[in-house]
Amino acid sequence: MPLINNKVGDDGTTSSPKTLEEGKVLIDSLIKVVACYRHLASCVGGCTDSLHLRDELRLTREKAQKLAVASRHHLTARLRDKTLPQEERQEMELLWVAFTSSLELLHADMCKVFNMGSNFSLINNNTLVQTGIQGETSEVTARALSLADLTRAEDQVPAILEDLEQSQLEEEIAHVDVMLEDMEEKVNVLRWMVEARGPQYVEPASTDSASLGLLSTDEEAGPQSQQCCERSQVFMVLVLCSVAVVMVVLSVCVVYLS
């Protein structure tokens, strides 16, 4: 699988890409957008749920659907081509599996958001669940849409009313449904013949794991070891200070002796 560029410059143009690389890039972007959609969907109904969040969901959804339609055209065209060499066909089938799986995830998330949207209606000022989330999700949306920054006016009221949005969502769910069924019929990919090429485990990321680990272990250990952690932090500070003092003393000695 190729390296993922965070800000991939695709915009779902209508011209169909001709190379294998472009197909991979499309699928990768689709996977990225689906992942971002899931993060956004997990905030619905919680205390940060707002019209902005719903708007962000809508934008992400639309982007995902555009990518899906483009990938579908590309993949269907390539897979129906009988003259495709075997190696490329296998690659295409892997992409096909990735495409259908991400579409299924998107479908499931959309259904959940639709259900939650009807339960947690913002207009009727229902109570939202206090989940502990505090921040905004605009960065996630920006990542999904491949924009450097999601600019929105602070008091911009989204143009779409809630009912309209729900019905639109329903239509989109039906659309994705139809797409999935169509795909099953049009292209015959034997799932049991497709073999994954990648590793079983994801390579562990080295960056930023420490602080996150700190947060989670703190939550696990409980109030007692919070004090303990604070105590151990104080201890570390003391050790560092003593090391610094020793260094100063050594340098002074060096200065004196030389």
Partner: protein, 487 residues
């Protein structure tokens, strides 16, 4: 992609989970800033996260809201945690509510359990892959096993799973640190509920799935009324037993079988499911030489019990051999064989049975009345699985009324009864129980058991039953011509 025959949109109904709607209503009430549960911020080393609630607050709120006792409120709170609507912040694997200052938090609605949607294995695989990203080797043993299993059977989409896990991790990094921590806790709590570690009780046990929503109101069409009419007509025509009679039978059954039920009376020597000691099973195997006292006692309850126990049947067969009336039991066994055997061998078996037992002058002719014989012979022209049912029932009743009584008074049975063993109850200490659990081994393979049974049967067939007619024809001159069996 998932292999799905029905794109169900949540139309697989899980009726037992219909209570979730009510639980959601309770949850929403708890959120009210004025009348709901009081929340406090949770202080961590570098930040504070709001909306933490204590266990005792939840329990008190429930007790006040529904005017119930503290114990019941405690049980209700545990149910909320077990379903996954509230998750504990410390000790996240134990899904109980502790009515003290232990901290909990509400789960986000995305991760609430849903009646309509099943929990997908793809999502679980993605979650486990994400856990691996943060730190390699952090999966527990059961999670590791499940991960390997999923890798095997979902292999075709493994690339997708790995990619999606990476993308979700990266998307998560775009969020602020406290939010990221909260999201991780939420996800972890979700999976503790839906993929519980082994040995824990899961609240998500929802029974069978149904294709029709049992909560939905049924439309009153003519078909609906027709079904009601058929149902009521059939229930009028059904023969009924007086409740005094049926209850009397139930009471008698309970009294006789009370000591033989392993739930109600201790199993001798010890219940293998409890103590991991398989002596009980070894003593009660089908081909054991000396049966246990309890087993022999069960043979006296009814003739059906005697026949269904293979050791009992062997004993009965021995008795009948001594009385030279073994053909009844042999016929009964042949009928059972026909009923439960494969369809391919049915014709052949039916003909064999006719030749051996039913034809005039057959070597092991059984004594059934004329009418049954007529019906059976007519049926044998087009044999099917249950063609010998009438004859079998007749022979069964014959054996039950006649031979069974004599068997129970016979020296064969009395001898078996005398020799039967009554093992003492095991008394294991805790360390011995642990040792037993460690020494657990799978029992003898059923394939080997079946082979042994086949050999046993072959041996019995070759040793040959003692037929009165064979004996008689040997004694007299051998000129008697056996007429060819009618087809």
């Amino acid at each position: 992609m998932t292999i799905r025959n029905v794109r169900d949109h949540g139309q697989r109904f899980r009726p037992r989970m219909a209570c979730l709607k009510k639980v959601e209503a309770v949850m929403l009430e708890m959120q009210d800033p004025k009348t709901g549960v009081k929340s406090q911020p949770q202080k961590l080393v570098i930040t504070t996260i709001p909306h933490a609630i204590t266990g005792e607050d939840v329990v008190t709120w429930l007790a006040n809201r529904y005017t119930i006792e503290a114990e019941e409120a405690w049980a209700l709170g545990t149910m909320l945690v077990a379903f996954g609507y509230i998750y504990p912040l410390q000790d996240h694997k134990r899904l109980v509510i502790k009515p003290d200052t232990a901290l909990y938090r509400f789960q986000t609605p995305y991760f609430w359990p849903a009646q309509q949607w099943p929990v997908e294995d793809t999502d679980y695989a993605i979650y486990l892959a994400k856990r691996n990203i943060r730190k390699k080797g952090v999966l527990e043993m059961h999670e590791q096993e499940q991960y390997n299993g999923l890798h095997k059977w979902m292999n075709h989409k493994w690339d997708f799973i790995v990619m999606q896990a990476k993308e979700q991790y990266r998307a998560g990094k775009e969020r602020k640190k406290p939010d990221r921590a909260v999201f991780d806790c939420q996800e972890r709590a979700y999976w503790v509920v839906h993929r519980p570690p082994p040995g824990t009780v899961s609240a998500m046990d929802y029974g069978l799935e149904r294709m029709v929503d049992p909560n939905a109101e049924e439309k009153e069409t003519s078909d609906f009324f027709r079904r009601i009419m058929i149902f009521t007509q059939q229930s009028i025509m059904r023969p009924r037993v007086k409740s005094s009679v049926s209850i009397g039978a139930l009471v008698k059954y309970s009294i006789t079988c009370n000591k033989h039920d392993p739930f109600l009376a201790p199993c001798l020597p010890s219940n293998p499911w409890v103590t991991d000691d398989v002596t009980y099973w070894l003593l009660n195997m089908a081909n054991v030489d000396i049966p246990t006292k309890m087993r022999v006692e069960r043979w006296t309850f009814s003739f059906g019990e005697l026949l269904s126990d293979p050791r009992g049947r062997d004993d009965f067969r021995l008795f009948l051999k001594k009385e030279f009336s073994g053909e009844n039991l042999a016929f009964w066994e042949a009928c059972e064989d026909l009923k439960w055997g494969t369809a391919a061998t049915m014709n052949e078996k039916a003909q064999q049975v006719y030749k051996t037992f039913l034809a005039r002058g057959a070597p092991r002719w059984i004594n059934i009345d004329g009418k049954t014989m007529e019906v059976t012979v007519k049926g044998l022209k087009h044999p099917h699985r249950y063609v010998l049912d009438a004859a079998q029932t007749h022979i069964f009743m014959l054996m039950k009324k006649d031979s069974y009584g004599r068997y129970l008074k016979s020296p064969v049975f009395k001898d078996t009864q005398k020799r039967a063993i009554g093992p003492d109850q095991h008394r294991f200490s805790v360390s011995q129980l642990e040792a037993n659990a460690r020494k657990r081994r799978p029992s003898i393979s059923p394939i080997i058991v079946r082979q042994q049974e086949k050999e046993e049967r072959a041996r019995m067939a070759t040793s040959g039953p003692v037929d009165i007619t064979q004996v008689m024809s040997k004694l007299s001159n051998k000129g008697k011509e056996v007429p060819p069996p009618k087809k």
